[in-house]
């Protein structure tokens, strides 16, 4: 007969609980079987003895028989109990299987939720990045008309691209020499160079606001003698003291960023501005030329 293992397991639990009186069904069955075995052996021995010795021990016969019957009855009861316990065990196994199934379902759901969360997180992140780039693009948007206007402005004045008939000028030292000799026939040769440049020339700089503030003496320090251009008669711009690069058409709203800082200090932005410092600096650089020589 099969004996269930949980009966074995239940014994230590019960022992721990201190109920030593409750033995497991298996043990009880085994003990009953042992009793039956003992009793039946005794009976057989008695029967064997009574044959040879003829002792009047009728009382013992019936006693043993009664005990035997009792033990048998116990045995039957215990078998029923064991059967019942078997059924219970089967149910338990079924329930355990159910529980396992549910467990795996839950784990599956957990995995799927994790995946979904991951996908959503990436989607949200990418959407945020897109929004950021849209914002950035919007901030940097300029009307095409303005760009075209500006492009025309810097190209038409030959500030970024030389005129097609541009010829480099002669050596300034040579110019100086010839000027000293003041040879009229050669002056035409001298000034075959085009004075136009991709940067404001000495002349233009001095004609501007900064130049007037500084009141520079005329000298050829920057490599362009003011005299040559004058003599060459190539002066359409000079007569108008106001160059487009000096922007007289500044819109009222357009002002330089307020610099509340003294440029003498390393970390900007904490001191109240001393505007005179800035003005002095720009005039210093141009007025320092008067200090030379």
């Amino acid at each position: 007969m099969r004996l269930k293992h949980e009966e074995e397991e239940s014994l230590p639990v019960r022992a721990a609980m201190g109920t030593a009186a409750e033995k497991s069904t298996k043990e009880r069955l085994l003990s009953v079987l042992d009793d039956l075995e003992v009793l039946s052996r005794e009976l057989i021995e008695m029967l064997a003895l009574s044959r040879t010795q003829k002792l009047p021990q009728t009382g013992e016969d019936t006693q043993i028989l009664e005990l035997l019957v009792q033990r048998d009855r116990e045995f039957q009861e215990l078998m029923e109990v064991a059967q019942h316990q078997g059924k219970v065990h089967q149910e338990m196994q079924l329930l355990e299987k159910e529980v396992e199934k549910r467990d795996s379902d839950i784990q599956q759901l957990q995995k799927q939720l994790k995946e979904a969360e991951h996908i959503l997180a990436t989607a949200v992140y990418q959407a945020k990045e897109k929004l950021k780039s849209i914002e950035k693009a919007r901030k940097g948007s300029i009307s095409s008309e303005e760009i075209i206007k500006y492009a025309h402005r810097i190209s038409a004045s030959n500030a970024v691209c030389a005129p097609l008939n541009w010829v480099p000028g002669t050596n300034p030292l040579l110019l100086l020499l010839l000027l000293i000799c003041s040879s009229a026939s050669l002056t035409h040769l001298l000034f075959s160079g085009d004075p136009r440049r991709p940067y404001p020339t000495d002349l233009e700089m001095r004609s501007g606001m900064l130049g007037h503030m500084a009141n520079l003496p005329t000298n050829g320090v920057n490599g362009h003698l003011p005299g040559d251009a004058l003599a060459a008669g190539r002066l359409p711009d000079v007569l108008t003291p106001h160059y487009p690069w000096q922007s007289s058409d500044v819109s009222v709203g357009m002002l330089p960023p307020h610099h509340g800082n003294d440029f003498g200090l390393e970390p900007p932005g904490h001191n109240k501005e001393n505007e005179d410092d800035v003005e002095a600096m720009s005039t210093d650089s141009s007025s320092s030329s008067s200090d030379s020589d």
Binding site: P198, M205, L255, N261, S285
Partner: protein
């Protein structure tokens, strides 16, 4: 606080000054007088970087000045500008670039156009073979 008039004057003077930086001879001039070594001036150059913003840069007539301004942020460049040869070299290169700019651009556009042409040629050939 400065008045609007003062602010406008400051705008104009800063506009003029930043464009003067496009002139390598002027930069050499400043370097030789030690102006480029002064800390306040270096801070001022950093402050002038606001001209790179589109709302300010649209007033610049000589855009080369922005490149010079960027280079001036580096100490090595400021040190080198003391040499007259360095300034002359920059001037020459600047003029050469200025002279050949339109030619370079047309060449670039031609190259781009040629790149696109081979992509358009195969389809006509394909039609011819099917006929």
């Amino acid at each position: 606080m400065e008045t609007e008039e003062q602010a406008r004057n400051r705008f104009q003077s800063e506009l003029e000054f930043v464009q003067c930086l496009a002139n390598p001879n002027y930069l050499n001039f400043l370097a030789q007088r030690g102006v480029l070594r002064e800390r306040p001036f270096i801070n001022y150059l950093k402050y002038l970087l606001y001209w790179k913003e589109p709302e300010y840069s649209k007033f610049l007539k000589y855009p080369h000045c922005l490149h010079m301004l960027e280079l001036l942020q580096y100490e090595h460049f400021r040190k080198e500008l003391v040499n007259a040869q360095c300034a002359k070299f920059i001037d020459e290169q600047q003029l050469l670039h200025w002279q050949h700019y339109s030619r370079k651009r047309t060449r670039l556009q031609q190259a781009l156009a040629e790149q696109q042409q081979p992509q358009q040629q195969p389809p006509p050939h394909g039609n011819a073979t099917t006929k």
